[in-house]
Amino acid sequence: MDALDLARWQFGITTIYHFLFVPLTIGLSVVVAALQTAWHRTGKTEYLRATRFFGKLFLINFAMGVVTGIVQEFQFGMNWSTYSTFVGDVFGAPLALEALLAFFLESTFIGLWIFGWDKLPKRVHLATIWAAAIGSNLSAYFILAANAWMRHPVGFEVNEATGRAQLTDIGAVLTNPQAWSTYTHVLGASFVVAGLFVVAVSAYRLWRHRDADHEMFRKALRAGLLTTVVAGIVVAASGDHQAKLMAQDEPMKLAAAEALWRTEAPTGFSLFAVGDVEGSRNVVNVQVPYVLSFLATGEFTGEVEGIVELQERFEAQFGPGDYVPNVPVLYWAFRLMMGLGGAAIGVGVLGLWITRRGRLPERGWTYGVAMLALPAALAANIAGWVLTEIGRQPWTVTGELLTAASVSPGVSLGEVAFSLTTFTLLYGALAVVEVRLLWRYVQAGPAHVTPTVEPGARVPAFTY
């Protein structure tokens, strides 16, 4: 173990943890805004109660998303100073834009929303939750553009004198095909998570508290299922696009994710493989013929490059070294992402069918499945990031900067060990607190709100 290993573990742990809260924040902000809009339009108390109920769950999650995001912004400089110095010119720009254009919006208006219920006119108060929701959705774009640049660096040149990357075209960075594709994919996945969150909560309420607010949660369940299916289709379609970009920009990641050792045309999609990494071959490999060729190139007989050939090509291009990322991890992360993601969509479609025309299932296990779909969707999201980030190895910036060369040279093993331990313990404890709080508020159910008599009647604010 050296400081580099620990810095990598810390990045992995803090990033994955942050991403447990981000998709829910992105998706739920819009869900809550939509519920409040429905209340504003119809004046029905049940929408107000649903807004307040899901709003509270949203805020419990939002707090964790914000604080774990702060850690991310500091971590680049703390543990990855060589990387930060090399890329700041390019990578720092979207980060600064995110803070200025999106995060200010989100944080200021969330305060106005929480405390503004009894201080702002209804219409203005409704606008504050939309401003916060737009802020959080916009924020994701800038962060993903920065991440996309690491995988497919565009719009820059390396200054020979300073040895640093320099931005030459901000338009290229912000319209990076990888950025748009990833944004669509991640946004879709976020709405799947939010949809399934609503599904899980509603299913639990319907299962355990059948009489109370039955109608409200049946409607919420259906809306959550519909969101899951629509967003799931976006995820699948953008995922297909991602595979083609991966074949083009990051062929090694695709080859590793498919355990495709040798270049083949045509080649099949692997369903189950047992590999011999040392021997660069698979012992067992169950494939669906032609499918990988189609996924990667759009043609059933297209050629897909293999790990061995790519390794040779990269050695010729970048010099001696090991350019193969961790194949088993990528192979299974890829399958976990697609499998669980597909299952989540399946739950959505089946759920819509089962609950058609006012029906609700009688059997307890169906509710159990609905609740389990949420952790499954979160796991699919995590697997997606594992694929993205580990697939980029050994590079931090593909073709430009190796991870091993990115770490802070002045930071000791002890310091990284201390911060890794601190964050792991802190995050572990906070996870327990967050789950406990969410559980408590789901159990308690929606609070009763006095029906509004006059249109301008005031609703008490949330308090701390």
């Binding site: 700041g88 803070a99 200021t108 503004g116 930071v411």
Partner: protein, 327 residues
């Protein structure tokens, strides 16, 4: 004026905004046990900063993001060079942010007491820590020709840096007490006034001492130092006459004066080297290329006024004094 200098000023502005705004909510957090003696008192205090603290904190996120984009080497050397203090600050901010949201979510005295402790610690550590970091930036660190900071944690805890840390802490406590005098009513307002008097007794000499030491070392910045101390005394005078708005404005202006002193004292350096002045990071040698700075300038010129506008509006929406009835 060249672009790197403009961005140095922009970053100084962002930090100043952060210190003025989050300064008072740190102060309120640190005063939670002494001024908010019972639950209704503490709730009054927390509700006074509740709607705005999150927006205040984004000034920090933006300042750090702007350092990353405009002066990558400064961002990298500062955060990796001050590893342990920065880590403690970040952990404190994590605790604090969660504490505000979670403390009222379960109705239990033990639960609230724990989160109150997180708010106090989460406010004290960054107030102290940022003072420590900025004092060390002024003093310089052991940075080599390779841009790597070699100062150990003990090096960072020099008497000068500790005095700087104490100065920001005392200043924020005073700033927070005056904010509470302005924004609350009832017993909290009374206790906040008393707290402001006590805080001033510490803040005036400590801030004055730190600024005098800084001015003595650098041979510049005397007007800013004098202004900072004079404004603090003005704040105390206004508070004694129950002119709470003016008192708060005066500490805010005093923080601005301290910030002018710090960033003015630093310029054109960003991170001076104690090993050899030639190794230090400067506005000229650590900046991003003009293209990046140009884009940031355009976006900043358009959006920073907008941000200031809507944040000012949020303060206007919550302009009334906060009052919580005892349960």
């Amino acid at each position: 004026m060249d672009l790197p200098t403009i961005w140095f000023l922009a970053i100084a502005l962002l930090w100043t905004g952060y210190l003025v705004l989050e300064g008072f909510d740190f102060g309120v957090g640190m005063l939670l046990p002494s001024v908010g003696r019972d639950e209704s008192g503490r709730r009054t205090m927390i509700n006074a900063i509740g709607p705005v603290w999150d927006g205040n904190e984004v000034w920090l996120i933006t300042a750090i993001g702007a350092m990353f984009a405009a002066f990558p080497a400064w961002y990298a050397a500062t955060l990796s060079g001050f590893y342990v203090p920065v880590l403690l600050i970040v952990v404190a901010l994590v605790f604090r942010g969660v504490a505000f949201e979670y403390r009222g979510k379960i109705d239990s005295a033990v639960w609230r007491r724990r989160w109150d402790a997180a708010i106090v610690g989460g406010s004290l550590v960054p107030a102290f820590g940022w003072g420590l970091v900025f004092a060390n930036l002024l003093r310089g660190v052991e940075i080599g020709a390779d841009g790597v900071v070699r100062s150990s944690l003990l090096d960072l805890l020099s008497p000068y840096a500790l005095l700087g840390a104490l100065a920001t802490t005392a200043l924020f406590v005073l700033h927070g007490a005056l904010f509470l005098g302005l924004k609350t009513d009832g017993p909290v307002r009374h206790r906040a006034r008393a707290a402001a008097r006590r805080a001033a007794l510490v803040a005036v000499p400590v801030v004055g001492g730190f600024l005098a030491w800084t001015a003595h070392d650098r041979g510049t910045g005397v007007p800013a130092a004098v202004a900072a101390v004079a404004l603090l005394l003005t704040a105390v005078g206004c508070a004694a006459q129950r002119r709470e708005g003016w008192a708060f404005a005066a500490t805010a202006a005093s923080i601005v004066a301290v910030s002018v002193m710090v960033f003015g004292g630093l310029y054109p350096a960003l991170l001076p080297s104690l090993i050899d002045p030639a190794f230090g990071l400067t506005v000229a040698n650590a900046s991003s290329a003009p293209y990046t700075l140009g884009i940031l300038s355009v976006v900043g010129a358009v959006f920073l006024p907008l941000v200031i506008g809507y944040q000012a509006w949020s303060y206007w929406v919550f302009r009334r004094r906060v009052h919580v009835d005892a349960a």
